[in-house]
Symmetry: C2
Subunit: 205 residues, 2 copies
């Protein structure tokens, strides 16, 4: 067994497909890794040759959704959009793609909230990286130069807050979440605009 990369990829796809279906049917907690393995027709231990943890599976599904959202957004036709409008459209596209995972996202936030303690090739971290990549490109396209590390940190915190809120949002069409997105992005872009001129004063603890 040295180069059967095609079979490996197929198994990986079967796992993701089975997991996605089971999570949607019965929830993240209620779905056991043994369930997923059985549905993918592999042994329970084999699952962990493909994904290090159960969270990594949903993390992989999520970052696939984020990449799909990036593609959706790229092929959207827009005319003279402001930065915050582009951001809103991208986030909204993300929410549409993440909808099947909505209830299960909090399980990812614990690990993917912190920007430091992640292994380079971490499945769950790539959700953050993929999303922030697009946001960075958007900022540059709107002539704002590169976003600082602290700006990206603040943006990601707000985005994570939106996802956590969304997971529990009980308003009929999740319109409360969209309102929160609007406020979050308004706050962020307003702050960004203020940042360029002033340099913040020192502050003692």
């Amino acid at each position: 067994m040295r180069v059967n990369a095609e079979t490996k990829a197929a198994t990986r796809r079967r796992i993701l497909e089975a997991a996605g279906r089971l999570f949607a049917e019965q929830g993240f907690e209620a779905t056991t890794t043994r369930d997923i393995a059985a549905a993918a027709e592999i042994a329970s231990g084999t699952l962990f040759n493909y994904f290090a943890t159960k969270e990594a599976i949903v993390g992989c599904l999520a970052s696939a959704a984020v990449e799909a959202a990036g593609a959706d957004f790229a092929r959207q036709t827009r005319e003279t959009p402001a930065f915050d409008e582009d951001l809103f459209a991208y986030v909204a596209a993300g929410l549409r793609r993440l909808k099947p995972l909505r209830k299960h996202l909090p399980s990812l936030l614990q690990t993917s909230l912190s920007p430091l303690a992640d292994a380079p090739a971490d499945e769950a971290a790539s959700l953050r990286i993929a999303h922030l990549e697009t946001v960075s490109r958007l900022a540059e396209r709107h002539g704002r130069g590169e976003l600082s590390a602290v700006a990206l940190q603040l943006y990601w915190t707000l985005y994570a807050g939106v996802l956590a809120f969304w997971a529990a949002d009980r308003s009929p069409k999740q319109e409360d979440t969209l309102a929160l997105v609007d406020h979050s992005l308004g706050m962020f872009v307003g702050w960004l605009d203020g940042q360029t001129s002033e340099s913040p004063p020192e502050r003692k603890q």
Copy 2:
């Protein structure tokens, strides 16, 4: 055994003391509930008569720290402080009190990030409630009226982001975290100031 409330309280205190010590010594994950029960000299099952989950224990420790920080802050003498300076002082006091739990806070964020899905008397949620209570009182004291639900939501998201960052902060004296607090609060207060006048326009998805 009908009214021995004093004994119950003493056992509860022994659990918290043992858990705090063990978490500090060997970390949250590495400490088992059986360890804690043994250190508190109770059976493994008895632990769960006092705390519903392992997270609830660290949640209780954390909300005690937040309350202590509120007391620290209240007895601080300050002269003509601005709103954001008061906020910074309160948050800094919180970080000081939470320091022994720093590394273990992410385990709480998953549950306490979302403002909706919490049982009324949830141990972990009281961390959020206690903190936001003080922030609300501060806002009123500075003549800003009551903070809106969305303002509190945004504030809490930023605070959770700070805690998540702090847990992984490897800068020598965690000065990176203090800088992040400064930026977060600056962004929040700036947004609040902008909120009072304008009414935000509608936005379609």
